[in-house]
Symmetry: C2
Subunit: 175 residues, 2 copies
DNA sequence: TAAACCGATTGCTATTTGCAATCAGTTGCA
DNA sequence: TGCAACTGATTGCAAATAGCAATCGGTTTA
């Protein structure tokens, strides 16, 4: 369950942390989708993760120090997952990954608008986003009003494209 | 063997290309190690890839358009693998990945010096490196003398650290 | 009190991984 | 000419992992 350490190369060690098909998807949904609960991650996932794999990866990401888990005061059975600083600093990597995918892979328009906005915003936008995540997950102070967050900006971009592509359909705010 | 397309999300599609434990290792050895042949990749790999997995990943990376294969004129059985533009543009992602790993993971000093130099060089150094790779793999013209390349700079940094850590030992120029 | 929901867990099969041995052809050296 | 070393792979096999479907014991809501 823990890391292999095939070598001390930084790229290799990074791959051993999230070089699988689900870990980064979970972190993506937490970072960009604001998902904090098991069921949100399970049902909200576009890619359809299985519950045992989700449980396994959450456990693994906690062991690796990327996530923490706490009880949700509103529901005795609910657990709330938080990103650590280690996970929050993945934002620039996710931004680059999205930008690369947008150029070279058959991405769908509505799902890549976020990547496009994040790419255009550049490092200053990534920093602002990371500060928002620190506020949301680590409890650090913040003076950004909720309607002016980077996540809200990305979400608005997504909804604009989705509405244009299917004018009559209901907005899907999950993804 | 080809891509799954669980969703059209750029991050998901990128993961489906190199979200496994070997593909990026192979690309790393080609990009930073200058490896072009099957045996070089097989024997030079710090992490000890198996020959069947190497063969499988080379085939897969070719199908995905990240590599091309050509006959080596010096040896009738030798194949020479080249990076495509698609693979060369991974350099910024690898740089970020290395930088992230250097901060959060137990990297070894001699293997992370390259990541440190690449991080300090920033986007201008990455661009220069990508131009060198285009010259080497795609045959585009270049006026950088061989001793002033980014790869040579990174290699020199590695050897300086390796020599300092083991003054009497022979330099290992493979990794 | 029943239904829906909570974060998982279990049983199971299909796929993937990765080690070891091997392949047929090529090359370099004696 | 003969033979060992090397070329890019391929095969057989056992172990680990992936991932689907059903289910768990408990909580909340209607």
């Amino acid at each position: 369950m823990s890391i292999d350490r095939r070598s001390g190369c930084p790229i290799n060690l990074s791959l051993e942390v999230f070089g699988d098909r689900w870990s980064l998807i979970i972190l993506r949904d937490m970072i960009f989708g604001g998902k904090r609960h098991f069921r949100d991650l399970l049902n909200g996932s576009l890619e359809g993760i299985a519950s045992n794999i989700l449980a396994d990866r959450l456990k693994r990401l906690m062991e690796l120090g990327m996530l923490t888990r706490a009880n949700d005061p509103t529901h005795k059975q609910k657990a709330i997952y938080s990103l650590t600083e280690m996970a929050i600093t993945l934002v620039p990597i996710l931004a680059h990954l999205g930008a690369w995918g947008r150029v070279w892979l058959p991405v769908s328009e509505e799902l890549s608008i976020r990547a496009e906005l994040l790419e255009k915003g550049g490092p200053p936008m990534w920093e602002k986003f990371m500060d928002e995540l620190r506020h949301e997950h680590l409890g650090t102070p913040s003076d950004t009003p909720p309607e002016a967050t980077v996540r809200a900006t990305l979400q608005a971009g997504y909804e604009a494209v989705a509405a244009r592509k299917a004018p009559g359909a209901k907005c899907d705010s999950r993804a």
